[in-house]
Structures are given as C-alpha cells and as structure tokens.
C-alpha cells in the first residue's frame, strides 16, 4: 500500500472545518483557543448554523475570533459579551447567539453580566475559556488563578490571605435557576476534545431550542503565561487545575433525575 493509494478523497476521515477561515491564528503555539475555535466551527457546520449563528467576541486573547470563524460576530466591550448577547438574542429570536470569553473577561470584569444573564435564563450559549491567567496582557493573576500559582503579579505564588481564593464560576452558574446546562470540559487529549465537542453541540442545541442559558467551561492552558512548553502545560493542567476544576457535567436539566 503506497501513500498515494491511501491519500484519496474517499478515504479522508478528518479535514480542516469548512467554517474555519484561512487566516493563520495569532495564538501562541499549543494554545487551547485554537482547538476550541476548531470545535465551534465543526459543530456549527454539523448543525447547519453557519447562517443563523451570531458570536459575541470578548476582550482578551479571543478578541480576533471574527477573523477565524466564518459566521456573524459582534465585538463587545470588556466583560459585556453576555449583555450584548442578551440584546441580540432578544432582537433576533431566530438566531443562535453565543459568547466566547476568557476568565479575565467573564470571571473578573464581567462577573455581573455573566451572573445576571444566567439568572435571567437568556437563550445564549456561553463558552468560558478558563486558563487561570490573563494571557493577552502578560500573565497577570486572574480570579481563577490557583492558590500558590506564580504569575507576573503574584511572583511568589497566589496567597489566599492577600489575593483571596480562586472563583469557581461554573459552580455559581449551576446554582442559578436560569441555566439549563453547565459543564466543565478540557481539550488536552483526543478523548477530552471529543467530550468537549459533544458539550458544545448539546449547548448549541439547547440554545436553538430556547431552553435557557448553557454554560460550557473549558479548562485550558496558557503555555506562554505559565512559562511551560505546550506538552508540559497540559501535564501541569492535569495535575493542578483539575483538582480545583474537576471535569464533567455540573448541571443538565435535560437529564431526568
């Protein structure tokens, strides 16, 4: 069997998603954002939402998301993506609206908007990339930074007596009555990627069926901010982040208890 025999269109099992534009992503090598962008593009294509989906981009590393996925996008002010998404989903009830935010955007400056959008049960999907650091601005401490984790503003590690404790925003969202689906995923292994893909798919279907707010947290790496290689960053995430942010569904009102 030669390479030419195998590389034929009928044998293709994976190719670049059609909705992912040709632009090279500005993310650092090994950044989880790229994988999540790819999953969002794949799922939107699978569900046939390329004409109905409207994304709301945050301020943070994902600020250029509109350059990478071929759907309609709005750029929101820092932390205000759920508020903008609320307006869009109410004015355009036929469209599927989602936000794509990082932890500095969603869990710090935008906490109020996030919590109140979830409380109101807006028909939006919130994708929350949690890497425990402000990646774009140079690796400062974020609300989700782990205790003892070194960042450029906590060079000796985060201390609970000075900096407080990390916030588990997904657990807060799960307590609110407006959310229908809250899950925590990761994209560090092929199995985790498939699981995250399923979660994003479920969340987009919930949004289309107007079941309430779906909240998908993705525990991610920031190899540049953590000052590790991408492979070591994944290992560090498995050993440290998952203890504080365990993976799995936190709330799913579709499953009968």
């Amino acid at each position: 069997m030669t390479r030419e025999d195998i590389i034929k269109d009928e044998n293709k099992v994976y190719s670049r998603p059609r909705l992912l534009l040709d632009a090279t992503m500005h993310y650092c090598p090994g950044c989880s954002h790229g994988v999540v962008h790819k999953l969002v593009a794949e799922v939107l294509e699978e569900l046939g939402m390329e004409d109905t989906a409207i994304g709301v981009a945050p301020v943070g590393c994902a600020v250029f998301a509109y350059n990478y996925i071929d759907i309609d996008w709005i750029e929101a002010a820092h932390g205000r993506a759920p508020a903008v998404a609320t307006a869009v989903s109410r004015l355009q009830p036929d469209n599927v609206v989602f936000t794509y935010q990082g932890d500095g955007d969603l869990a710090a400056i935008g906490t109020a908007e996030t919590i109140h959008a979830c409380t109101r049960g807006e028909n939006i999907m919130i994708i929350f990339i949690n890497n425990g650091i402000y990646g774009m601005t140079g690796g400062q401490m974020a609300p989700t930074t782990l205790e003892g984790m070194k960042t450029s503003t906590t060079p000796y590690g985060r201390r609970a007596d000075i900096n407080g404790f990390p916030v588990k925003i997904s657990d807060i969202a799960a307590m609110l009555d407006g959310t229908c689906y809250v899950t925590r995923q990761a994209v560090h292994t092929p199995a985790a990627v498939r699981s995250a893909r399923k979660a994003i798919r479920q969340a987009l279907i919930n949004t289309r069926e107007k079941r309430g707010t779906s909240f998908v947290e993705i525990v991610s790496t920031c190899s540049s901010g953590w000052k590790l290689s991408p492979v070591k960053a994944n290992k560090w995430m498995e050993e440290n982040m998952f203890a504080k942010y365990p993976l799995g569904d936190i709330k799913n009102t579709e499953v009968k208890k």
């Binding site: 025999d5 195998i6 994976y14 090598p29 090994g30 292994t189 092929p190 990627v193």
Partner: protein, 78 residues
C-alpha cells in the same frame, strides 16, 4: 484479518511546532523537524514513521491550528 492503513497530510507552513500532535499520536508516527524550520521559523511536524499510521485522527483532534488532514483505508483482504 483486515488491516488498517492511515496517512496524514500536514500543512507545514501553518504548523507552529507545538508538539501536541507528537504527544497525542499512539503509534509514534509524528515528530518535529530537528533542524529545518518553516517560513515563520517553527520546527514543524512531519511523519518520521509513516508506515505505523492507523488514521485514528488523534493528532488532528488536538492540533490547535487545524493543519492536519487524516486519511484511513481499511483493506479487508490484507
């Protein structure tokens, strides 16, 4: 018994050499170029052991830049 043949095509100019595909591959097909770099200066991934590929798609699943295409052929007569 059926035999599975796989192959990957890597867009080496898009690759940023993050090494995640190399770590994800179950059959050690991939490696980063030790010396050669692409247009943007990254040591891009290449198939060091192409015959071992089973077309499982693990490398493509974890690739943040979506630069890997996967092909799989199941030969039932082999």
């Amino acid at each position: 018994m059926a035999k599975i043949f796989g192959a990957v095509e890597i867009d080496s100019n898009r690759c940023k050499g993050c090494d995640l595909c190399v770590a994800a591959c179950p059959t050690s097909v991939l490696s980063l170029q030790p010396k050669e770099v692409n247009d943007r200066g990254y040591h891009f991934a290449y198939t060091v052991n192409p015959d071992a590929c089973i077309g499982c798609g693990s490398c493509a699943a974890v690739c943040p830049d979506a630069c890997i295409e996967v092909y799989r052929l199941v030969d039932k007569n082999a």
